[in-house]
Amino acid sequence: MKGVLATDRRGVRELGAEELVGWDEVTQGVVLNSFDIELENVAHIPPEERPYSDFNSYTATVASWRVIKPVYNRDICIDCQNCWVWCPDTSIISRDKQMLGIDYDHCKGCGVCVEVCPTNPKSLLMFAEAEDPEAALAKWPEKKKKEKK
């Protein structure tokens, strides 16, 4: 019988290699460790200080999904955190009640953050992926008189 061996540490065994193994030798399930060491109270460790393992999707990127990207304008932002609570991709970096910017490794460019931003003009706007951030800021619109629905 042919089976694919999988282990809980990448590299310990050759993964994806097809070997002839018995039915009772096939690994039952796979365990992926999110961190390189055993951690307690992850909720008390800020992301910057976590020993993320290579298995953690935090170490991966989906930046290539984007055709448009949000650009952040600190000057107008009121740190309301609307963008933070509704970003589906954990890509709004907020620390100590302040919005710091966008995590472009994980942002997919959905545009939700722009829609929920309450300032006038908005503190987040979508631009072409290739747009230079400085150039984008230079193009920022003026305050709108009254938004017509």
Binding site: F35, P47, F55, Y58, D89, E115
Partner: protein, 317 residues
């Protein structure tokens, strides 16, 4: 239990997230908004079971995991079973004194889609709730089997187009009404049952905290707008969810101990259901003259159900 402050969004935003990016859910998917909020609502240790569906296939794509907590993937029917099993094992080991840190606070959570919750995993959910395990079951209700291409489920509302209940010359889409899963779970006598929505972040976070704090099995149905199968622009997920709650298509309420019903959100300005339907491609066909009666029926069902909820709330029975 250690709960996160949800007094306002600024305080809430100081939590250390345990749901990581670079998962593969569609841009704008509400599943991850809901999951993030659940995980951010507490800093207790979490043991989470997730059965097959968009959430599971997108957050555990080998060799990656997006979960910074104990997380189990299990077959389509068994989110409740896995969470219940882990909870029972934990209790037994606590009794036997074989836990490394018996005082560490742990919460058991199961996530299932509507396909698995309303249909295929229904009896296992029912069993786990009847046995009284101490866990919280959260249904990510996007009203279809999204992961396999958008088939109808018993959570799909009447009139919606799905790949197995198509709208066309002879049909207006699904013909049957959505199953009232919240009532069914309340009828189990579960101590806390609710229907919540991510646009109302504070109500949702409060509900999650209540469920996590409550001993015994809790069930929460969350509306999870699906940009791909509902057919709307990814940027509009929250806007669509606003329309869902403000047309009362998705009323927000809780039922405590199987009987005490509280409405948690009353829209100041209740919108006609057309506004919600018109914003999504899956209801496009309802605006043909021959399908006008379907919209009328949907509106009437909404009105009747709202009336029912208000009377239940008033009656306190």
């Amino acid at each position: 239990m250690a709960i996160t402050s949800i007094k306002n969004l600024k305080e809430f935003s100081t939590v250390n997230e345990r749901f990581e990016g670079a998962h593969l859910l569609c841009p704008g998917c509400a599943h991850s908004m809901i999951v993030r909020e659940l995980m951010n609502a507490t800093d207790d240790n979490l043991v989470i079971a997730t059965n097959t569906g968009c959430l599971e296939v997108s957050t555990a794509v080998y060799p990656y995991t997006s979960w910074d907590t104990s997380w189990i993937h299990i077959g389509f029917e068994n989110a409740a079973t896995a969470a219940a099993g882990a909870e029972a094992m934990y209790k037994a080991r606590k009794r036997k004194g074989t836990l490394k840190d018996p005082d560490a606070p742990v919460k058991f959570v199961a996530f299932g889609g509507d396909g698995s919750t309303y249909d295929i995993g229904f009896q296992w959910l029912s069993g786990a709730v009847e046995r009284g395990h101490d866990f919280t079951y959260i249904c990510l209700d996007n009203e279809n089997y999204a992961n396999t291409g958008g088939q109808r489920s018993s959570a799909t509302p009447i009139g919606a187009h799905t790949t197995t209940a198509q709208a066309g010359r002879v049909s207006y889409g699904k013909k049957q009404k959505k199953k009232d899963m919240v009532a069914i779970m309340a009828a189990h006598g579960a101590p806390y049952v609710a229907q919540l929505a991510p646009n109302k972040w504070k109500i949702m976070a409060k509900g999650f905290q209540k469920a996590l704090e409550t001993e015994g099995p809790c069930f929460i149905n969350t509306v999870s707008a699906c940009t791909t199968e509902w057919k709307f622009d990814p940027k509009d997920t929250i806007h669509i969810t606003d329309l869902a709650t403000d047309t009362l298509m998705f009323p927000i309420y809780e039922i405590i101990d199987g009987h005490e019903l509280n409405i948690l959100y009353r829209p100041k300005n209740v919108l006609p259901v057309e506004e919600y339907l018109a914003a999504q491609g899956r209801y496009k066909h309802l605006f043909k003259p021959e399908n006008k009666h379907v919209i009328e029926k949907i509106q009437k069902d909404i009105n009747d159900f709202w009336e029912y909820l208000q009377r239940r709330e008033e009656a306190r029975v």
